[in-house]
Subunit: 141 residues, 2 copies
């Protein structure tokens, strides 16, 4: 009873050592499709019959295996976006995100780079979370 699977998606999961179940393939497909950071709720809404907890655990697994990164954009819910292919989620690899205060969308600003220097002595940097907020192009008209 093999469900027809998109081989390329399956390959992505396998390359991250994630067991490619039907649910996970659907989640990965949806994340690729929207090309944006989405919350658990938004993800749930894009499926007809998906259990919230299963989606939650899928994302958790993805994050653990560095297939997605999570962003706290201040909307009240964590959002998730696909990592670049070779991403290991180190500080130098992190990029900024833009959160639209009107439509609540969150974009990855892959070209917005951050200064990683200027920390006080003996502070050790492990991660960063930069969110710019305002109006996106569609909402600023």
């Amino acid at each position: 009873m093999n469900i027809p699977m998109k081989p390329e998606l399956e390959q992505i999961l396998l390359s991250r050592k994630i067991q490619p179940t039907a649910m996970r393939l659907l989640v990965l497909e949806e994340l690729s499709r929207v090309n944006m950071a989405v919350s658990l709720n938004e993800l749930e809404a894009s499926f007809d019959k998906a259990d919230r907890v299963t989606l939650y655990r899928s994302l958790k697994t993805f994050r653990k295996h560095k297939l997605v990164h999570s962003i706290e954009d201040g909307s009240g819910s964590l959002k998730y976006a696909l990592c670049e292919e070779d991403c290991e989620c180190k500080p130098e690899e992190l990029h900024a995100h833009f959160h639209c205060n009107k439509c609540n969308a969150t974009f990855c600003l892959k070209d917005y780079h951050l200064p990683v220097s200027g920390l006080p002595r003996r502070f050790v940097l492990e991660e960063m979370n930069l969110v710019l907020k305002g109006l996106c192009d569609a909402c600023s008209a």
Copy 2:
């Protein structure tokens, strides 16, 4: 840090057009004392008998009048810190924060300013939230 005395605290509130009630004076005093970004829970814990909602509303009022700014440090709860004297919370005035993954403390990095350029066309910047995470000086030993 220099902790202002009662009359000065009252003056601070008045200058921000906030009615100086007993509760608000206590909250402001505590915020000055700790000199750090604190969550609602932490604030509540530093008083013997204080209603959570009252503290919440005090902070909300403070924020509305730009006496405090709030930071989403990813700890799961919003944190609040006193603004500089003439702060109007515009993007150019915002500074970064450092969140310690070990002791959960959050510091204002008042000298760490952010580039406000590099946004895609027609994106309008209103606020920013930059949190560096890692180990603070006390925890990195």
